[in-house]
Amino acid sequence: MTPEETQAFYARRAARSRVIGIVLAALAVLFFLLTVVRMGKH
């Protein structure tokens, strides 16, 4: 790979990691809120 391609490769990987992080954080918040709502029913 050329240096430009290597840089683009790392940039894509970093962006993908950020998106995975955001999705996981959103899921954690979602499950917390779901627990609150469902426990509120009982």
Partner: protein, 306 residues
């Protein structure tokens, strides 16, 4: 007519892929229509649902549909690469490796069903799982390469969302969501056959036995017309059983008349060249609007009635 599957190499692995490629793998445009019909089932259902539970139910439907679409692209990469319409998809274009696509799709599928089970319940989760399995195993793996009836039977997979949305609220089924299922089921053949008419060279290249290739254009146009008659008849059923209101009745009759007009135009067309298939292109485009406004009518009527 049967095609031979070829296994594509895992060219990109997963490391070189952009996150947008994974998003594309979920077929976002198809998911948008699926989410909409699921939301209509949810809105039309009598009873109360917590807004967060409703949001998660729709999210799970979207993820499930996206996962099914991703599994479909994983399995059909060898077909997609031979079709102009689909050759630029992430897997055939080599932007996502086959194994990465499969892993991503499976994780998303499991997550969607798990999310539905946790937030809503077992029945809705079971329906979501059934819709994913139906689309992937019955339609994609079994029927698509074997029979021109592929989209007739496979259409059932896309008809599940209103059922799931309804069950998320009520916990059980009723005549209206079953009729919404039937509407999408009968709508699918004329919708896809209209498309298959003007992209039939693509399907021929890929070896997919779509109806225009196996039975000719005239028979396909006849089937489109017959299914369109059936579709309009089914859309009148909710009115007959008083499950919807005046707005839906006006929309079903008006939009249905226009659908039949476009289908008749297709039936009367004798062209064999895609460039001369404007009636088919019009019917295909209109069929999407038709389903959207018809289902919007179901939801609006339910809101008005409250």
């Amino acid at each position: 007519m049967q095609s031979v599957r070829i296994t594509l190499p895992d060219v990109a692995g997963g490391a070189a892929s952009d996150w947008r490629d994974y998003f594309q793998l979920l077929k976002p445009r198809v998911v948008a229509l699926v989410v909409f019909t699921g939301a209509v089932g949810l809105i039309a259902a009598p009873g109360h649902i917590h807004p967060l539970i409703a949001f998660v139910a729709i999210l799970a439907i979207a993820l499930g549909a996206g996962a099914a679409g991703a599994l479909n692209q994983w399995w059909e990469a060898d077909l997609d690469i031979r079709m102009k319409r689909t050759a630029s998809r992430p897997v055939p274009a080599g932007r996502i490796g086959a194994k990465s696509a499969f892993d991503f799709a499976m994780v998303t599928a499991v997550a969607s069903v798990f999310l539905m089970q946790v937030a809503v319940g077992l029945f809705a989760a079971a329906l979501l799982l059934a819709s994913i399995l139906f689309y992937v195993l019955i339609y994609t793996v079994w029927l698509k390469r074997r029979t021109p009836q592929n989209i007739v039977i496979g259409g059932a997979a896309g008809a599940f969302p209103p059922l799931i949305g309804w069950v998320a609220v009520t916990g059980n089924l009723a005549p209206l969501p079953i009729l919404l299922f039937a509407i999408i089921f009968v709508w699918t053949p004329p919708h896809f056959w209209a498309l298959a008419m003007f992209v039939q060279k693509d399907y021929a290249n890929a070896g997919v036995p779509m109806l225009p290739l196996t039975h000719g254009n005239a028979e396909t146009r006849r089937q489109i017309w017959l299914y369109s008659l059936g579709l309009v008849a089914v859309t009148l059923a909710p009115i007959a059983i008083h499950a919807t209101g005046l707005l839906y009745a006006v929309l079903a009759v008006g939009l249905g008349a226009a659908f039949l007009w476009f289908a008749w135009g297709t039936y009367r067309n004798t062209a064999d060249e895609p460039k001369q298939m404007k009636p088919e292109k019009r019917l295909f485009g209109y069929s999407i609007l038709y389903l959207f406004f018809l289902f919007a009518g179901v939801a609006a009527d339910a809101v008005i009635a409250r």
